[in-house]
Amino acid sequence: MRSFRSTTTLYPSTHYHFNTIMKKVLALCCLAFVFVATSQAQTITAEAEVIEALTWDGAVQAVNFGQIATGTGDVYLDPNGNSTDNGTGTAQAGFLTATGSAGNAITLSWSNTVLSDGTNDLAYTPEVLGTDEANDQAGAADAIPGAGTGVTLNDDGNYYIWVGGTLSVPSGTPVGNYAGTVTFTSAYVGS
Protein backbone atom coordinates (compact mmCIF):
# COMPACT_ATOMS: atom_id res chain seq x y z
CA MET A 1 0.00 0.00 0.00
CA ARG A 2 2.66 2.29 0.85
CA SER A 3 4.55 1.56 -2.36
CA PHE A 4 1.35 1.75 -4.43
CA ARG A 5 0.57 5.00 -2.84
CA SER A 6 4.09 5.93 -3.49
CA THR A 7 3.68 4.98 -7.13
CA THR A 8 0.48 6.83 -7.49
CA THR A 9 1.90 9.86 -5.81
CA LEU A 10 5.06 9.76 -7.90
CA TYR A 11 3.27 9.86 -11.27
CA PRO A 12 1.86 13.34 -10.89
CA SER A 13 5.19 14.46 -9.62
CA THR A 14 6.91 13.16 -12.76
CA HIS A 15 4.24 14.82 -14.95
CA TYR A 16 4.76 18.11 -13.18
CA HIS A 17 8.49 17.85 -13.76
CA PHE A 18 7.90 17.29 -17.47
CA ASN A 19 5.65 20.31 -17.66
CA THR A 20 8.17 22.42 -15.84
CA ILE A 21 10.89 21.42 -18.26
CA MET A 22 8.62 22.15 -21.20
CA LYS A 23 7.78 25.52 -19.78
CA LYS A 24 11.42 26.36 -19.38
CA VAL A 25 12.19 25.16 -22.89
CA LEU A 26 9.38 27.25 -24.29
CA ALA A 27 10.37 30.18 -22.20
CA LEU A 28 13.93 29.93 -23.36
CA CYS A 29 12.75 29.66 -26.96
CA CYS A 30 10.59 32.72 -26.59
CA LEU A 31 13.26 34.64 -24.80
CA ALA A 32 15.76 33.58 -27.41
CA PHE A 33 13.40 34.83 -30.08
CA VAL A 34 12.85 38.02 -28.22
CA PHE A 35 16.52 38.35 -27.60
CA VAL A 36 17.24 37.84 -31.28
CA ALA A 37 14.62 40.41 -32.11
CA THR A 38 16.11 42.72 -29.53
CA SER A 39 19.54 42.21 -30.92
CA GLN A 40 18.30 43.09 -34.38
CA ALA A 41 16.69 46.24 -33.05
CA GLN A 42 19.92 47.30 -31.42
CA THR A 43 21.68 47.25 -34.74
CA ILE A 44 19.50 50.14 -35.91
CA THR A 45 21.51 53.32 -35.72
CA ALA A 46 20.51 55.56 -32.88
CA GLU A 47 21.75 59.10 -33.28
CA ALA A 48 21.66 62.02 -30.96
CA GLU A 49 22.96 65.53 -31.55
CA VAL A 50 23.82 67.72 -28.64
CA ILE A 51 22.82 71.25 -29.53
CA GLU A 52 24.56 74.09 -27.78
CA ALA A 53 22.32 76.69 -26.29
CA LEU A 54 22.37 79.96 -28.17
CA THR A 55 24.22 82.76 -26.47
CA TRP A 56 25.60 86.19 -27.26
CA ASP A 57 29.29 85.76 -26.68
CA GLY A 58 32.32 87.96 -26.81
CA ALA A 59 32.64 91.67 -26.48
CA VAL A 60 29.53 93.69 -27.10
CA GLN A 61 30.35 97.05 -28.58
CA ALA A 62 27.80 99.80 -28.11
CA VAL A 63 26.54 101.94 -30.93
CA ASN A 64 27.99 105.42 -30.56
CA PHE A 65 27.01 108.33 -32.76
CA GLY A 66 29.63 110.51 -31.13
CA GLN A 67 28.91 114.20 -30.88
CA ILE A 68 26.24 115.74 -33.03
CA ALA A 69 25.45 119.42 -33.21
CA THR A 70 21.85 120.10 -32.35
CA GLY A 71 19.65 120.66 -35.36
CA THR A 72 21.87 118.64 -37.66
CA GLY A 73 18.92 116.59 -38.89
CA ASP A 74 19.39 112.97 -39.87
CA VAL A 75 22.76 111.50 -39.02
CA TYR A 76 23.70 108.19 -40.60
CA LEU A 77 26.14 105.81 -38.94
CA ASP A 78 27.52 103.25 -41.36
CA PRO A 79 27.50 99.68 -39.95
CA ASN A 80 30.41 98.87 -42.26
CA GLY A 81 32.53 101.66 -40.82
CA ASN A 82 32.94 103.83 -37.78
CA SER A 83 31.90 107.22 -39.06
CA THR A 84 28.81 109.30 -39.49
CA ASP A 85 27.99 111.33 -42.56
CA ASN A 86 27.42 114.61 -40.76
CA GLY A 87 27.97 113.98 -37.10
CA THR A 88 30.99 115.13 -35.15
CA GLY A 89 33.48 113.47 -32.89
CA THR A 90 34.28 109.80 -32.80
CA ALA A 91 31.50 107.49 -33.91
CA GLN A 92 31.44 103.73 -33.65
CA ALA A 93 29.20 101.02 -35.05
CA GLY A 94 27.77 98.49 -32.62
CA PHE A 95 28.93 94.88 -32.64
CA LEU A 96 27.81 91.60 -31.12
CA THR A 97 28.21 87.89 -31.82
CA ALA A 98 25.53 85.21 -31.85
CA THR A 99 27.00 81.87 -30.78
CA GLY A 100 25.56 78.37 -30.88
CA SER A 101 25.93 75.02 -32.58
CA ALA A 102 28.08 75.20 -35.70
CA GLY A 103 26.26 75.14 -39.01
CA ASN A 104 22.80 75.54 -37.53
CA ALA A 105 20.22 77.91 -38.87
CA ILE A 106 18.98 80.56 -36.50
CA THR A 107 16.67 83.52 -36.66
CA LEU A 108 17.67 86.98 -35.54
CA SER A 109 15.27 89.65 -34.39
CA TRP A 110 15.72 93.06 -32.86
CA SER A 111 13.48 95.67 -31.38
CA ASN A 112 13.38 99.30 -32.35
CA THR A 113 14.17 101.98 -29.82
CA VAL A 114 14.43 105.70 -29.24
CA LEU A 115 17.31 107.59 -27.69
CA SER A 116 16.36 109.64 -24.69
CA ASP A 117 18.01 112.10 -22.33
CA GLY A 118 15.35 111.27 -19.79
CA THR A 119 12.98 113.90 -21.05
CA ASN A 120 13.35 114.22 -24.78
CA ASP A 121 13.36 111.42 -27.35
CA LEU A 122 15.24 111.12 -30.61
CA ALA A 123 14.07 108.71 -33.29
CA TYR A 124 16.60 106.02 -34.11
CA THR A 125 16.31 103.55 -36.96
CA PRO A 126 18.93 100.80 -36.68
CA GLU A 127 20.60 99.31 -39.71
CA VAL A 128 21.84 95.82 -38.98
CA LEU A 129 24.26 93.90 -41.18
CA GLY A 130 25.69 90.46 -40.54
CA THR A 131 28.39 88.12 -41.71
CA ASP A 132 29.76 84.71 -40.82
CA GLU A 133 33.29 86.00 -41.35
CA ALA A 134 35.14 87.07 -38.23
CA ASN A 135 36.64 90.56 -38.12
CA ASP A 136 34.99 91.56 -41.37
CA GLN A 137 33.04 94.67 -40.51
CA ALA A 138 33.60 96.20 -43.92
CA GLY A 139 32.40 93.04 -45.65
CA ALA A 140 29.28 92.47 -43.58
CA ALA A 141 26.53 92.42 -46.18
CA ASP A 142 23.66 90.26 -44.90
CA ALA A 143 20.79 92.63 -44.27
CA ILE A 144 18.97 91.83 -41.05
CA PRO A 145 15.90 93.99 -41.32
CA GLY A 146 14.15 92.96 -38.15
CA ALA A 147 11.94 90.13 -37.03
CA GLY A 148 12.95 86.56 -37.73
CA THR A 149 15.73 86.97 -40.25
CA GLY A 150 17.29 83.59 -40.98
CA VAL A 151 21.07 83.21 -40.93
CA THR A 152 23.46 80.30 -40.47
CA LEU A 153 26.13 79.97 -37.80
CA ASN A 154 29.60 79.39 -39.22
CA ASP A 155 31.86 76.42 -38.56
CA ASP A 156 32.88 77.97 -35.27
CA GLY A 157 29.24 78.41 -34.29
CA ASN A 158 29.40 82.20 -34.63
CA TYR A 159 27.56 84.87 -36.55
CA TYR A 160 28.75 88.47 -36.41
CA ILE A 161 26.46 91.48 -36.35
CA TRP A 162 27.27 95.14 -36.97
CA VAL A 163 24.83 97.88 -36.09
CA GLY A 164 24.58 101.42 -37.39
CA GLY A 165 21.55 103.34 -38.45
CA THR A 166 20.03 106.77 -38.68
CA LEU A 167 19.49 109.14 -35.78
CA SER A 168 17.21 112.10 -36.22
CA VAL A 169 18.41 115.28 -34.49
CA PRO A 170 15.88 117.97 -35.34
CA SER A 171 16.27 121.66 -34.76
CA GLY A 172 15.70 122.60 -31.16
CA THR A 173 16.98 119.34 -29.73
CA PRO A 174 18.32 120.12 -26.26
CA VAL A 175 22.01 119.40 -25.81
CA GLY A 176 22.89 116.44 -23.63
CA ASN A 177 23.59 112.74 -23.59
CA TYR A 178 21.00 110.51 -25.21
CA ALA A 179 20.86 106.75 -24.78
CA GLY A 180 18.74 103.81 -25.79
CA THR A 181 18.85 100.02 -26.03
CA VAL A 182 18.28 97.70 -28.95
CA THR A 183 17.29 94.22 -27.82
CA PHE A 184 18.51 91.37 -29.99
CA THR A 185 17.00 87.88 -29.88
CA SER A 186 18.36 84.73 -31.49
CA ALA A 187 16.57 81.36 -31.75
CA TYR A 188 17.19 78.12 -33.52
CA VAL A 189 15.04 77.56 -36.57
CA GLY A 190 12.35 75.03 -35.61
CA SER A 191 12.74 75.48 -31.90
Binding site: T38, L54, T55, D117, S191
Partner: protein, 187 residues
Protein backbone atom coordinates in the same frame (compact mmCIF):
# COMPACT_ATOMS: atom_id res chain seq x y z
CA UNK B 1 -2.49 19.12 -24.19
CA UNK B 2 -3.40 18.82 -20.61
CA UNK B 3 0.00 20.09 -19.71
CA UNK B 4 -0.30 22.92 -22.18
CA UNK B 5 -3.74 23.68 -20.96
CA UNK B 6 -2.38 23.77 -17.50
CA UNK B 7 0.22 26.35 -18.63
CA UNK B 8 -2.10 29.07 -20.04
CA UNK B 9 -0.97 31.61 -17.50
CA UNK B 10 2.64 30.87 -18.29
CA UNK B 11 2.08 31.66 -22.01
CA UNK B 12 0.57 34.98 -21.07
CA UNK B 13 3.49 35.68 -18.86
CA UNK B 14 5.85 34.78 -21.66
CA UNK B 15 4.00 36.92 -24.16
CA UNK B 16 3.93 39.76 -21.72
CA UNK B 17 7.62 39.36 -21.08
CA UNK B 18 8.33 39.22 -24.81
CA UNK B 19 6.21 42.26 -25.44
CA UNK B 20 7.96 44.10 -22.68
CA UNK B 21 11.32 43.25 -24.10
CA UNK B 22 10.24 44.24 -27.60
CA UNK B 23 8.93 47.54 -26.31
CA UNK B 24 12.10 48.06 -24.35
CA UNK B 25 14.14 47.26 -27.42
CA UNK B 26 12.04 49.61 -29.49
CA UNK B 27 12.45 52.30 -26.89
CA UNK B 28 16.15 51.95 -27.36
CA UNK B 29 16.06 52.86 -31.02
CA UNK B 30 13.42 55.54 -31.00
CA UNK B 31 14.95 58.91 -30.08
CA UNK B 32 12.50 60.35 -27.63
CA UNK B 33 14.07 63.77 -27.38
CA UNK B 34 17.22 63.51 -29.42
CA UNK B 35 17.81 66.34 -31.87
CA UNK B 36 15.35 68.64 -30.22
CA UNK B 37 16.49 72.24 -30.42
CA UNK B 38 16.69 74.39 -27.32
CA UNK B 39 13.56 76.46 -27.32
CA UNK B 40 14.93 79.23 -25.12
CA UNK B 41 15.96 82.21 -27.26
CA UNK B 42 19.08 84.16 -26.38
CA UNK B 43 18.66 87.84 -25.71
CA UNK B 44 21.26 90.61 -25.82
CA UNK B 45 20.88 94.29 -25.13
CA UNK B 46 22.94 96.67 -27.23
CA UNK B 47 23.43 100.20 -25.90
CA UNK B 48 23.15 103.17 -28.23
CA UNK B 49 24.63 106.56 -27.39
CA UNK B 50 24.65 110.04 -28.87
CA UNK B 51 25.96 113.28 -27.43
CA UNK B 52 24.01 116.23 -28.72
CA UNK B 53 26.12 119.35 -28.51
CA UNK B 54 25.67 123.02 -29.14
CA UNK B 55 25.69 123.91 -32.80
CA UNK B 56 27.64 127.12 -32.24
CA UNK B 57 31.23 128.04 -31.42
CA UNK B 58 31.63 131.53 -30.01
CA UNK B 59 34.96 133.33 -30.19
CA UNK B 60 35.77 136.43 -28.21
CA UNK B 61 38.90 138.53 -28.77
CA UNK B 62 40.37 139.21 -25.37
CA UNK B 63 43.36 141.08 -26.68
CA UNK B 64 45.05 141.63 -30.08
CA UNK B 65 48.66 140.71 -30.76
CA UNK B 66 50.90 143.72 -30.15
CA UNK B 67 54.55 143.97 -31.13
CA UNK B 68 54.72 147.48 -29.74
CA UNK B 69 57.35 149.91 -30.92
CA UNK B 70 59.99 148.52 -33.21
CA UNK B 71 62.84 150.26 -34.99
CA UNK B 72 64.09 149.94 -38.55
CA UNK B 73 66.82 147.36 -38.82
CA UNK B 74 65.88 145.51 -35.63
CA UNK B 75 65.56 142.29 -37.49
CA UNK B 76 63.51 139.57 -35.80
CA UNK B 77 61.12 140.52 -33.02
CA UNK B 78 59.36 137.81 -31.07
CA UNK B 79 56.20 137.68 -29.03
CA UNK B 80 56.14 134.37 -27.24
CA UNK B 81 53.49 132.82 -24.99
CA UNK B 82 54.96 134.39 -21.89
CA UNK B 83 54.69 137.89 -23.30
CA UNK B 84 52.07 140.26 -21.86
CA UNK B 85 51.31 141.54 -25.35
CA UNK B 86 50.40 138.20 -26.83
CA UNK B 87 47.01 138.04 -28.52
CA UNK B 88 44.24 136.05 -26.90
CA UNK B 89 40.97 134.56 -28.09
CA UNK B 90 38.47 132.82 -25.86
CA UNK B 91 36.32 130.06 -27.34
CA UNK B 92 33.06 128.72 -25.98
CA UNK B 93 31.33 125.67 -27.41
CA UNK B 94 30.25 122.17 -26.53
CA UNK B 95 31.88 120.41 -23.62
CA UNK B 96 34.76 118.17 -24.57
CA UNK B 97 34.06 118.68 -28.25
CA UNK B 98 36.89 118.17 -30.75
CA UNK B 99 37.37 121.24 -32.89
CA UNK B 100 39.37 121.72 -36.08
CA UNK B 101 41.52 124.85 -36.10
CA UNK B 102 42.39 126.76 -39.26
CA UNK B 103 43.92 130.21 -39.44
CA UNK B 104 45.42 132.57 -41.99
CA UNK B 105 47.17 135.91 -41.89
CA UNK B 106 46.29 138.33 -44.59
CA UNK B 107 47.52 139.73 -46.77
CA UNK B 108 50.09 137.10 -47.68
CA UNK B 109 51.30 136.51 -44.16
CA UNK B 110 52.60 140.04 -43.72
CA UNK B 111 51.87 143.23 -41.81
CA UNK B 112 51.35 146.18 -44.08
CA UNK B 113 51.75 149.88 -43.55
CA UNK B 114 48.41 151.26 -42.42
CA UNK B 115 48.74 154.53 -44.38
CA UNK B 116 49.13 152.62 -47.58
CA UNK B 117 52.77 153.61 -48.02
CA UNK B 118 55.18 151.05 -49.41
CA UNK B 119 56.56 148.60 -46.92
CA UNK B 120 55.53 145.43 -45.15
CA UNK B 121 56.92 143.04 -42.56
CA UNK B 122 56.88 139.26 -42.71
CA UNK B 123 55.18 137.61 -39.77
CA UNK B 124 55.42 133.95 -38.82
CA UNK B 125 52.50 133.38 -36.51
CA UNK B 126 52.78 131.27 -33.40
CA UNK B 127 49.54 129.83 -32.06
CA UNK B 128 49.26 128.34 -28.60
CA UNK B 129 46.25 126.88 -26.85
CA UNK B 130 45.00 125.71 -23.47
CA UNK B 131 41.73 124.53 -21.94
CA UNK B 132 42.24 126.98 -19.08
CA UNK B 133 43.30 130.60 -19.22
CA UNK B 134 46.94 129.96 -18.47
CA UNK B 135 49.13 131.10 -21.37
CA UNK B 136 52.29 129.94 -19.69
CA UNK B 137 51.03 126.36 -19.70
CA UNK B 138 49.67 126.48 -23.23
CA UNK B 139 50.87 124.26 -26.05
CA UNK B 140 51.63 124.95 -29.69
CA UNK B 141 48.64 124.51 -32.00
CA UNK B 142 49.49 123.87 -35.62
CA UNK B 143 47.31 124.96 -38.49
CA UNK B 144 44.70 122.32 -39.34
CA UNK B 145 45.05 120.44 -36.07
CA UNK B 146 42.27 119.34 -33.74
CA UNK B 147 41.91 120.65 -30.23
CA UNK B 148 39.45 119.52 -27.57
CA UNK B 149 37.35 121.97 -25.66
CA UNK B 150 37.32 121.79 -21.89
CA UNK B 151 34.58 120.26 -19.80
CA UNK B 152 33.03 123.69 -19.51
CA UNK B 153 33.21 124.06 -23.30
CA UNK B 154 35.93 126.72 -23.19
CA UNK B 155 39.31 126.99 -24.84
CA UNK B 156 41.92 129.73 -24.98
CA UNK B 157 44.15 130.61 -27.90
CA UNK B 158 47.28 132.71 -27.54
CA UNK B 159 48.68 134.31 -30.68
CA UNK B 160 52.30 135.28 -30.86
CA UNK B 161 54.72 135.49 -33.73
CA UNK B 162 58.09 136.21 -35.20
CA UNK B 163 58.14 139.60 -36.93
CA UNK B 164 60.90 140.51 -39.35
CA UNK B 165 61.62 144.24 -39.25
CA UNK B 166 63.50 145.53 -42.27
CA UNK B 167 65.58 148.58 -42.96
CA UNK B 168 64.28 152.13 -42.97
CA UNK B 169 63.82 151.89 -46.69
CA UNK B 170 61.96 148.63 -46.37
CA UNK B 171 59.87 149.68 -43.40
CA UNK B 172 59.32 153.41 -43.16
CA UNK B 173 57.91 154.73 -39.86
CA UNK B 174 54.23 154.25 -39.21
CA UNK B 175 51.72 151.69 -38.08
CA UNK B 176 51.74 148.21 -39.62
CA UNK B 177 48.80 145.90 -39.40
CA UNK B 178 47.71 142.47 -40.51
CA UNK B 179 44.53 140.49 -40.16
CA UNK B 180 44.42 137.02 -38.72
CA UNK B 181 41.36 134.94 -39.54
CA UNK B 182 40.64 131.91 -37.40
CA UNK B 183 38.06 129.34 -38.46
CA UNK B 184 36.90 126.78 -35.94
CA UNK B 185 34.64 123.88 -36.78
CA UNK B 186 33.46 120.82 -34.88
CA UNK B 187 35.22 117.74 -36.09
Amino acid sequence: MQALAGNKVTWRELCAAAASLLVAAAMGVVPPAFGQLPDVPAVAKLAVHADIISSTLDMTIIQPLQFGDVHPGMGRVEVQKGSPTIGEIEVEGAANAPVIVDYTLSPNGRLEHVSGRQGSMALDMLLFGNTSDQPGASSMVSNGSVITLAEDGRYYFYIGGLLQVGTLEQNPPGNYRGMMTMILSYQ
